[in-house]
Symmetry: C2
Subunit: 351 residues, 2 copies
Amino acid sequence: MSTMRDVARQAQVSVKTVSRVFNDDPHVLPETRQRVEEALAQLNYTPNTLARTFRDGRSPVIGVAVPNIADPFFSSLAKAVETVAAGYDMSVLVSSLGPDPSKEPEVVEALLRRQLGALVMAPTAPDQSYLRRWSEKVALVFVDRPPQGLDADCFIEDDFGGARAATRHLLEHGHDGVAFVGNSLDVSTTVNRLSGYRAALAEAGIAFRPELVVNGATSREGAWATVARLVGLADAPTAVFSSDAQTSMFLVPALAGSRLSIAGFGDFPMASMLSPALTVVDQDPDALGRLAAERAVRRLDGVEDGAPVSTTLPVRLLERSSCRPVDLEGGLFPASRPDGAGTLLWVTPGA
Amino acid sequence: MSTMRDVARQAQVSVKTVSRVFNDDPHVLPETRQRVEEALAQLNYTPNTLARTFRDGRSPVIGVAVPNIADPFFSSLAKAVETVAAGYDMSVLVSSLGPDPSKEPEVVEALLRRQLGALVMAPTAPDQSYLRRWSEKVALVFVDRPPQGLDADCFIEDDFGGARAATRHLLEHGHDGVAFVGNSLDVSTTVNRLSGYRAALAEAGIAFRPELVVNGATSREGAWATVARLVGLADAPTAVFSSDAQTSMFLVPALAGSRLSIAGFGDFPMASMLSPALTVVDQDPDALGRLAAERAVRRLDGVEDGAPVSTTLPVRLLERSSCRPVDLEGGLFPASRPDGAGTLLWVTPGA
DNA sequence: TTGTACGCGTTATCAG
DNA sequence: CTGATAACGCGTACAA
């Protein structure tokens, strides 16, 4: 592949002139321009993005670091980032952080060493202070979970409110034993959702029972074990609040056949087509990704340069049909909407 | 952030020596090494990957270009590529090609200009000859769909066999009117699956009816319209073969309430939890991504340098419960396996 | 209008 | 064992 030097030689001009022609600099004589353009075409010149990038020290790339790119939530988020990036001629470098929080720093720093322009990340580790030394050079924007030990832009969702609304919804159906099933209390979103769950219980005057909080339904087996444990309890719960979409997906099969009602945080593909259709707190990964990417680009361009801002996005409670009255005998679940969308029951106030 | 020059100054040595120490070159006196290492630590030296990359003209990056990164099939594939890449200290640049095939070249070339080491792509355009000029510099590996107008490594799946097996499965349940619903006949996978469908019909001695082939159920509305059209037909079909997972996902809601049986090409999350649980031709996006990435790396390293090879991966027909006998009156569908996996009915021979 | 010189950070070459 | 120098491709600053 030819470089500007090759073109320059062919056109009998200096490299700089080639550069000018290629970048539409007006200060070139039409006839010189013509000669250069011919050479450009003949040699099939293709710019080496790497060289430009190296020169100005920063790569037109937005990094996306998420727990798992195969998770529908994060792949939607990544796609949104990608769409925004494309609008600025930027590319997206993705990295899955994996299940082990201790791996986060090395994975992220490997990304950062590539001189990214910006990094959009959903952290898995309990501390991000190791990113301080990078924060001058890169636009850091957090999504889904706020950073710890670091002050940076951040877009999260109303975990507390959504969990409270969903739990309240279950309680309103007469369930007074509602279990909380989540992934890990090391994740701040789970902690906040647990708080929302507890708030709803407190508001309904129902005592919090620690034995109804279970973490680790992060696999098919884990989900079966969890359900078995819950239904085996002396005073077994009649409903479950699932704290995240992954957990819901594992829980659904395990719950089949049981008479437990369920509401979950996080929608996922086909949730509306299950039997029963899952009532969920709907997040908006697309908005999350879009907003984060836009903020990142604005920081990059220097359009925005104030103190970091933390923004909480609203969530919505979508009623479908997985929450049945506790005293219902037959199969008379409320019908799901035919379009699969669910009925809007509640939205984070102020949205 | 400090560079090698800073470290060199601090340690009173030349940059080259710093480079040697940093890269574990044995030809350094222990005492010099010590000095340099201290300086390295003190100044918190972090290599600029971009510079190295620029220097050797090729970036330790694998590009992944797929129709849509938010599609579960492709996000799994991307994750597999990422996992392999990580093992070689490489990163992954993802790009969604989008629904418009004519955009493919510009998107892909923007990626290529970044001097990628390799590109794993699932093409959307009908012709890839524009990639010829890149094929010397980059390891090009195609997945899911073979390249046209270009000879390159390629990993696809047994579209013909899978579609034939699924269609035959429907026919064996007594359905003689089986519709084919797909996305677009511009996509080679769809073409091959249509061939498989027709082969199954032919083998069963059933006439092919063009009006039973519908393309464009690529949205909720499209799916409803498609189903409406099919059931409104004079000699309406009693079963549907869905040619891809996206189509299946849209089709499922539209089919609810109808009495049509369905089998689909491509598994997807929760397909086993639907009612009825979907019988599908199971692909393996993970294997596809892993194999493609590994081939790419081997080409890069020059470990492998023969002519391009096209490999077809086997697929499996997983019976769940969405194919009912045509003459069945009640709701007596065969039960789905409790673990949601489905019963293995058929595998591409020679796997 | 055009060209020359220089630098970005790193590594290879080759001399000392 | 160590260091000076060149080179990668491009763009900026400054001259001519």
